[in-house]
């Protein structure tokens, strides 16, 4: 099966910042992303969990973005501008994808 080089970017960010992040990604030319729910976590700002929460202040989501390698820098710049002042983690992994025409 023919596969193609790509980058898998995973951005863990506060749920309230999700639309700001994805708007920024779209502006940076990103054509697709997938959002995963996050149950809880822990970091320098302490531990948290979604269970029983009704507000939106305390939750995070994971935005996963698979892109061609040449687009990585644009994406990271866009993501960084949003997460800069906010808590959150951005990580990048090398991957192979099927159907490269989609990215």
């Amino acid at each position: 099966m023919q596969t193609h080089q790509a980058k898998r970017v995973e951005i863990t960010i506060e749920a309230i910042m999700q639309s700001r992040l994805t708007d920024a990604l779209k502006k940076a030319g990103v054509t697709g992303f997938t959002v995963l729910p996050v149950l809880g976590g822990s970091g320098r700002s302490g531990a948290w969990t979604r269970s029983g929460e009704i507000g939106r202040a305390a939750g995070m989501v994971q935005v996963i973005c698979i892109i061609r390698p040449e687009r990585l820098n644009g994406l990271l710049d866009a993501a960084f501008a949003v997460v800069e002042k906010h808590i959150g983690v951005v990580s990048v992994v090398d991957c192979e994808v099927l159907r490269a025409e989609r990215f």
Binding site: R20, S45, S51, G52, I54, G55, R56, A57, A58, I87
Partner: protein, 325 residues
Amino acid sequence: MEQILTLAGNNLLSPIILSFALGVAASLARSDLSVPEAAAKALSIYLLFAIGFKGGVSVAAHGIDVKLGLSLLAGVILSAVLPLVAFALLNVITGLSRLDAAAVAAHYGSISIVTFVAATSVLESSGIASEGYMVAVAAAMEAPAILSALWLISRGGDGRRMDSDLWREILLNGSIVLLVGAFLIGWVTGEEGLEEISSFIVAPFKGVLCLFLLDMGLVAGRGLRNGGGVLRPGVLAFGVLMPLIGSAFGLGTGLLLVLSPGGVVLMMVLSASASYIAVPAAMRVALPEANPSIYLTLSLGVTFPFNLTLGIPLYVAVATALTGG
């Protein structure tokens, strides 16, 4: 005095308060009891819909009052002014940074709808009447406090821009839209509409409130366990003092507007209560550097239980004494 104590006693031993206490206790004992997030949100949707609808129906029944407009205006002003008071008090009695103080202050200008709901349920049990449009006042008080807090920060030279997204998010946040929407639906459909759905939104209301408060107790207890450490004595004192100060503002406003005894109580409760849904979310966007442990723990872990247990009976006693209600 005796009346206050009886009322406080009755209040403390109501299923509603005890459910909250059960939640706090379970959390502190690190039980794994938990309400799923989706269920907690569903309960809050139910409560907002029911309380808004009933408020609207009551306005339909009693007709529009000239005071409605005045009360809304008063609510907006209170919500905008109380953060300034809170900010000043925080500067005096706590060592919080400018940013943290502004964030906390925003919460105390805004309101807690569950505290409002708990108060209406105490009023009902005690047979004290109140204006139906106080629900609309509650909605009107959610947002102005946020602007005051941002103004406090920008005054300090820190140039924050409110982006238009944030504006929309604050003014059209889910709880405001649902509360106001249900209020309008209740108003339009009136008693007839209420009859159609009263066995859903009236009869089981208090029971649903118990489960919701169980959940709030679990969340508050978790907050105290994880974030209790940030509450220095000064901050803690603020969490109890500020509702008393706020309620005094509410009392003055209520008397000035010549509201019914129940209306005065609700104005006090709104002024005394602190937001834990709309404002924290706005603060995460606008003031991300402010520490959420402080404002969340203070609002949900200290002020909310204080109002729920001691505050409400006190406000009822004072308001009825002064209005002769």
